[in-house]
């Protein structure tokens, strides 16, 4: 009987097709076959990035005017030159550092408030009924629309910018956490209950981990919106920060710096969402592929 069980239920290991000719040395060949798709994706990705740079280069060196005007747009080489200058410029690094700090504080506060609030709202009807209407009214207001109000509310510019960043990421985090809570399988709650779990344990052992995938969706979206809100706020009311740097470059007719600022924002945004994804994989090993 155990033998039969093993036959019907043993996990089938991913066996490579026996028909594939062993053209490489066996391990190298297998490595190649297993990673074929990823290798292809990487190669195509590199090629398409190179093509993008090439088109950019051609459009700017020939100053193409075709509906859009590339007359003043900096070339990739000009941007690279200003990049090499900027990384030795403590002021540029300070811009980046301050933006990152604002994101860190604003986003962390949003997560620290949003996730527990969402969990509690998902668990306790009364809290949900009380908080949800307010949240629904405030949610559609874009964080940028808060700028004047934030300047009035907070004594310093720094605080109002962090506040805007907080607001931007708060609602996606809250709403996704709530959504995760509403999808928790009630049968899992029952399973925990008849194993002797009480309210607190059910919250910690069932509701929270069950909602984690959606919490991380909220964190990822929240991080994106945090950057959008931050850059807007910095452009309007900042004296430092990568958004301010980009806007200032325009005022000072430093065209290469505009593109440099934009690329820096893109890279920072990408980096922070990768960080969140990495954290998600650490916290949710059961979802690893």
């Amino acid at each position: 009987m155990p033998a039969a069980a093993a036959v019907t239920e043993s996990m089938s290991a991913p066996v490579t097709a026996p028909t594939a000719p062993p053209s490489f040395g066996a391990p190298a060949g297998r490595w190649y076959r297993l990673n074929q798709n990823r290798l292809r994706a990487t190669a195509i990705g590199v090629i398409s990035l190179a093509a993008f740079l090439l088109v950019w280069h051609l459009l700017t060196t020939y100053r193409v005017v075709f509906f859009v005007r590339f007359t003043n747009v900096p070339s990739p080489l000009a941007v690279y030159a200003s990049f090499t200058k900027a990384i030795h410029d403590p002021k540029f690094l300070l811009h980046i550092l301050l933006s990152c700090r604002r994101i860190f504080i604003g986003f962390s506060l949003a997560a620290i408030v949003g996730v527990p609030l969402g969990l509690i709202m998902g668990r306790f009807k009364l809290v949900h009924e009380a908080v949800f209407p307010v949240a629904e009214v405030l949610r559609p207001i874009p964080a940028i629309a808060w700028v004047p109000m934030a300047i009035m509310l907070w004594p310093t510019n720094e605080q109002s910018i962090v506040f805007i960043t907080f607001l931007g990421s708060f609602f996606p985090i809250l709403v996704n956490t709530l959504h995760g809570m509403s999808l928790v399988d009630p049968v899992l709650v029952r399973a925990a209950q008849c194993l002797g779990a009480r309210e607190r344990s059910i919250f910690r052992e069932v509701y929270f981990p069950a909602s984690l995938p959606h919490i991380f969706t909220g964190l990822t979206i929240g991080m994106g919106v945090a950057w959008v809100s931050l850059i807007a706020a910095e452009m309007i009311s900042g004296q430092y920060g990568i958004g301010y740097f980009t806007w200032e470059a325009y005022s000072l007719v430093q065209y290469a710096d505009i593109a440099l600022g934009m690329i820096a924002i893109g890279v920072l945004g990408l980096g922070s969402s990768l960080l969140i994804r990495g954290a998600g994989q650490l916290v949710m090993p059961w979802r690893a592929k």
Partner: protein, 290 residues
Amino acid sequence: MSAMATATPQGHIEVENFSLSYETIDGLVDAVTNTHIHVKPGEFVSIVGPSGCGKSTFLNAVAGFLKPTTGTITVDGERVSGPSAERGMVFQQYSLFPWKTVRENVEFGLKMRGMPRSQRERAARTLLGLAGLEAFEKHYPEKLSGGMKQRVGIVRALATGPKVLLLDEPFGALDAQTRVIMQQILTNMWQRLKISVLFVTHDIDEAIFLSDRVYCMTARPGSIKAEIPIPLERPRQQSVMMSSEFLALRRGLMSLIREESLKAMGGEINDLGMQGLNIELHGHSLVEVL
């Protein structure tokens, strides 16, 4: 394991005059009415009935998830008032915690009881070994086959040493071969642990093969229509299902269930449709006959 083996046989379930109605927009829906059953300590009892007859409703009430509308449920004389680790439950949808490894799933009940980590790890390993799952202790449930998942489900429910094990169509989602193996594993565990089992299924063969006694439930609103003792000797081999004794029991139960299934479908199809099941068409189209 030792904690469970030394427990004196307990788990006397007594259900009297039980009924349960759901409140819906259209008013009260009687799911189960006027039901009496009992399970003696160490007995294996099944409830069979057509789907929708209220088997899950009844089992959920015994587990303590639903409150009876009338009647009482007691286990060893104590009234059931909510879910408890005394009554282990196995669900059709496996219901393992996806974020816990196989071993952590099995440990869950012991953790809730406050058992220290090293101790419960050891207990979980022993239990997984009995179910032939020791090699999978670090796997997450998603990676397991249905049969393995349900073995984990059973082991998890047994880990806390409950007095009673409740199973709601636990093998309903498994293929036929796996189901046979699972039935044997369940029988083995039950015989070792000597706890009371209340097993819900719509599979007549399964009910007869496993049980000491089978209750047959009527179509909705469900109530107990018949109680059939299964005097087949134990340990039972697969071959018992070919014996004339088994087949006679099966025939009896089958006709009881068939009546009830027809009744249940009649409610959906309407009276004509129900007659239609017995009408010979003689080459006429169904529309003509109607």
